[in-house]
């Protein structure tokens, strides 16, 4: 009876967020269950008491009663308001960008997940993470829409082509948990699954060192920054006037059309691929688009590099040409 032993009612609970979601779920079950059973009980009672052949008081009752109607409209409404607020709180917490998170890049493609740690370590369909550390996934797709779903953390977010989406979690229980692609993505959608492996921090550090020697993503990005010719303009000494990129990550950038945008990963990515839609105030739209000339991998690397030069002074971080 192997099958019986496998029966489970709740998925693994491997993060604090998962606990919060489960608590809300239990409340919802209790609340809606009570109401449903109450309605059923009243209905069955009426059906039995007022069945045609049974003798019962059938004095015609009022068929319109404003007070009753308003009561059973308003009470559910406030109940719903509470549920809405609670659910929204969790959603909001999940969407806030975490501070000091360990970043992992995710690329979805038919039908596999390619992941890359900032240290340059790459994996396929597996995600190794250290216990107790906040992990932020920066995700994009090479083809269709996918969705990176980790039931043990109760989170998922769609992975779109041409854009970055993010999600984060903090694992609280070591173990191996499933990753699913939740957005239908073609023939082998069901095979686009993997594992999150939550390990003790020391084991994780050891794991990072296994395998081939790697350069970090930021270092790779720096090389690409030169080989793609970015440094030809985006440097203090450059002949072409282009915005300096030191410290740009996370800052508020005024645009030529008067808007002010937060320079996050998405902004940096757009600036590489569709530069002329977001001209920085005071600069000319002279940057060529790199759309179709650069892989998603390399865009990741360059944005990571730009992020890494955030805090350093301009002179020190730009190598001499």
């Amino acid at each position: 009876m192997v099958i019986i032993a496998q029966i489970q009612f709740f998925p693994d609970q491997a993060s604090k967020m998962a606990g919060q979601v489960d608590t809300l779920l239990l409340w919802l079950i209790v609340l809606t269950g009570t109401v449903t059973l109450a309605i059923a009980a009243v209905m069955i009672f009426f059906l039995a008491k007022y069945r045609k052949r049974a003798a019962a008081d059938r004095t015609p009752p009022k068929t319109e009663n404003l007070a009753v109607e308003v009561t059973w409209s308003v009470i559910p409404f406030f109940m719903f308001l509470g549920l809405f607020g609670w659910g929204a709180k969790i959603y909001f917490d999940e969407s806030v960008d975490p501070k000091n998170a360990m970043e992992v890049h995710v690329i979805g493609k038919q039908w596999m997940w390619k992941l890359e740690h900032l240290q340059g370590k790459r994996e396929i369909n597996q995600l190794h993470v250290p216990l107790g550390e906040t992990v932020k996934l920066v995700m994009t797709s090479q083809d269709v829409i996918h969705s990176f779903f980790m039931p043990a953390f109760r989170i998922k977010e769609d992975v779109l082509p041409g854009r970055y989406t993010t999600q984060w979690f903090k694992a609280t229980k070591p173990g191996t948990y499933p990753i699913f692609c939740a957005q239908y993505c073609g023939t082998n959608h069901a095979l686009m699954i993997g594992q999150v492996i939550v390990m003790a921090p020391s084991d994780f550090a050891a794991w990072l060192k296994t395998g081939r020697e790697t350069v970090s993503v930021a270092q790779r990005g720096e090389q690409l920054f030169h080989s793609f010719g970015c440094s030809g303009c985006h440097a203090a000494q450059a002949a072409v006037r282009a915005p300096l990129l030191e410290g740009i990550y996370g800052s508020q950038v005024p645009l030529a059309d008067g808007r002010i945008v937060n320079a996050d990963e998405r902004y940096l990515r757009d600036c590489i691929l569709i530069p002329n839609t977001q001209i920085v105030a005071g600069f000319d739209p002279v940057m060529p688009s790199f759309q179709g000339r650069i892989s998603e991998d390399d865009v990741f690397a360059i944005t990571t590099y730009i992020k890494s030069i955030g805090s350093s002074p301009p002179e020190a971080s730009i190598p001499n040409r």
């Binding site: 970055y164 945008v261 998405r266």
Partner: protein, 94 residues
């Protein structure tokens, strides 16, 4: 029913439409920048209202027709406002 009065009304509407057409083409030389699309759409809305009220005779129609005509525009308004609100509130949307 007075045919002549209807004809004069239609002719007046027509002339107003043409005048607004010229105004909308000339509008660009006012150099209003970001307000230009707003102004152009306002002119278009006035032209549309003229067509609806007089060519389509809604002005002389029953409340039901007002309801149907208004309903269509209300609905497209709902759709546009709600979808655009997603775009406006996306922190990253260009």
């Amino acid at each position: 029913m007075n045919g002549n009065r209807e004809a004069i009304e239609a002719l007046g509407t027509y002339l107003a439409l043409l005048a607004l057409l010229l105004a909308s083409i000339g509008f660009r030389w006012l150099h209003l920048g970001g307000w230009e699309p707003v102004g152009l759409l306002l002119i278009a809305a006035v032209q549309g209202a003229l067509v609806i009220l007089f060519f389509m005779r809604v002005s002389a129609s029953s409340q039901l027709i007002w309801l149907f005509a208004g309903g269509g525009f209300l609905w497209i308004g709902i759709m546009i406002v709600m979808i655009i609100s997603d775009y406006v509130s996306r922190p990253w949307w260009r």
